[in-house]
Amino acid sequence: MRFLGYAVANVFETLLRLLPFPCRTGLIKIGKPQKDSPVFLTCNYHLTVQRVKRALKGMDAYLLIANSRGINVWCAAAGGHLTNHEVISVLKTSGIEGLVGHRQVILPQLAATGVELKIIKEKTGWRIIWGPVYAKDIPVFMQNKMKAGRMEREVKFPFIQRLEVAISWAFSLSLLAGIIAAIFFPRVFVPLILFIWGLSLATFIFYPLYGSWLSSGKGSLTFSLLVWGVILLALVLYSHLSSGISWRFLIRWGIISFVFVFITTLDLKGGSPLLAGGFEELKVTIDEDKCRGAAFCETVCPRNCYDVNRKKHKAILPRAERCVLCGACIIQCPFDALYFKNPEGEVILPGTMRKYKQNLLGKRVMKTGNNR
């Protein structure tokens, strides 16, 4: 019965993934927790809470649900909805301080784009330990004495996740387009819905085939045009093979496919967790003088871009091309040794990132550049 509920929640919230699903905040007891039991913290996106609870099954622990307005951890942290304030709030108001003897709280590593280890320690006395990216790795993390290995610290985009993204895109798009089509163009309704689902599924399922090409600096626009070109070709071929070329058919479906190809693929980089969306011109830069090799960056980087030279006590970026510009390293560095820089030499300082997160990494912030 409980599994059925879990399955229904998974299906329903995958279809409507683009919407927030808030659930109750506060304290949840897992098993029979004692004074020395571990304390976990996560967002209040309903599906996330369900999955974390499942991962914690069989353990004795406390789970704190912070008010991220029903948004998942990474998006909420980057968008300013899961910040120091929400973490401080749940630590202070949930009653956890009276239940455990220690002051250690395990946060998902992806929260590092929004929650500052240093501030939480200063204001509450609680020490943050960065847990694994995915809830399913929590048991491994606990076996390793609360240390996340390289594998558990990296964001991936496996088949099942790509399928989820494809389904959520296809469902929302076909819902919107379907209503419009049903009212104004009932004849295209069925082929349109099939087209949207086919396009979404193909785009995300075949992601590994073109992902590296996209990351090599090619614009999303080129990619979108390429996909549209292929579809146009298929349309011409189809009409040629069936009943000779009908211009009305070609123009109608040419326009329809153009619209949906662009909606689906133009923000592919932003939609994939493996590519930087939007602000690709920015580069994380290390200030060699300030860096002391404390390795905070290495711990929070969800793409494993960093290595730390333990002899020289310096961080290096041997895999900088993998960076998704989440800013977690910049926000967590205790020596302010990291910042964003664009090709014109303008910079975004750690203080700006800490205040506005990714949310406001727009032109407005860039204007404050060059004041280092």
């Binding site: 905040t25 506060g26 008010n67 307005r69 990474w74 998006c75 980057a78 968008g79 300013g80 910040t83 304030h85 401080i88 709030s89 749940v90 202070k92 108001t93 949930s94 009653g95 204001k123 923000d267 932003g270 939609g271 994939s272 967790p273 969306g277 939007g278 998704v324 989440c326 205040k355 506005y356 990714q358 949310n359 406001l360 990494l361 727009g362 407005r364």
Partner: protein, 222 residues
């Protein structure tokens, strides 16, 4: 990762916030704020919880009060700061990025008035309990608690009519501003339980909007 388009909308959210909230409350908010701040006196020390774009703080400062506005959103605070500067009231208002859960750092009995517009409905249950307890502590005896917020209709019939309408409004406003509120249930009762005397509690006709004036017992009686 949040997508580019979504970020762009979020980026412009505070500027649309006022519009969104006006729609959500169907324009009654301004009048409610005027009525509540009419109770503020010259020289009062006033705390504004969830000061947002500064609507309540400005009104109180215009009456000659010393206002401290707290909010957790740095962009909101910036917008508010700009408005205060434009109104030449900067010396009377101080804005701080701070959550209600940090009110335990405030001195006891240090404010004559605490006011809050559409802030309580954004708090979690735990936060609300914590906040009311702290407010009881930091208000001077006889000090006032002024609240304007969304409420949940108590009559079943009204609730049935209002719920779908509110749902529609909420989706619209969420798309516009990524802001939403959770209407409050039984706020007057909760305020009374926290140790305040209710001076007046006023619901609008559709029972969706609450104006509440409460007083901490003791001190100067009026």
């Amino acid at each position: 990762m949040s997508t580019y388009i979504l970020m762009k909308i979020l980026e412009s959210a505070p500027s649309r916030y006022d519009l969104g909230i006006r729609l959500l409350t169907l324009g009654r908010l301004g009048k409610a704020y005027d009525r509540l701040t009419s109770l503020v006196k010259k020289g009062d020390r006033v705390l504004d919880l969830g000061s947002g774009t500064g609507a309540l703080a400005l009104r109180a400062a215009q009456k000659g009060a010393k206002v401290k506005g707290i909010d957790i959103n740095p962009r909101m605070l910036e917008t508010a700061q700009a408005r205060v500067k434009a109104a030449n009231l900067a010396q009377n208002i101080e804005f701080v990025e701070m959550g209600v859960v940090e009110l335990d750092k405030e001195e006891a009995e240090s404010f004559e008035v605490v006011m809050s517009g559409l802030c309580f409905s954004e708090l979690t249950e735990d936060e609300l309990r914590f906040t009311l307890k702290e407010l009881r502590r930091i208000l001077k005896p006889g000090g006032l608690l002024l609240i304007a917020d969304e409420a949940r209709p108590r009559t079943i019939l009204k609730s049935l009519i209002i719920s779908p309408l509110r749902m529609f409004l909420r989706i619209f406003v969420f798309i516009l501003t990524q802001t939403t509120t959770r209407a409050l249930k039984n706020l007057p009762e909760q305020v009374r339980t926290a140790g305040f005397d209710i001076v007046s509690s006023k619901l609008n006709r559709s029972e969706t909007f609450l104006e509440l004036v409460a007083r901490k017992p003791g001190g100067r009686e009026k």
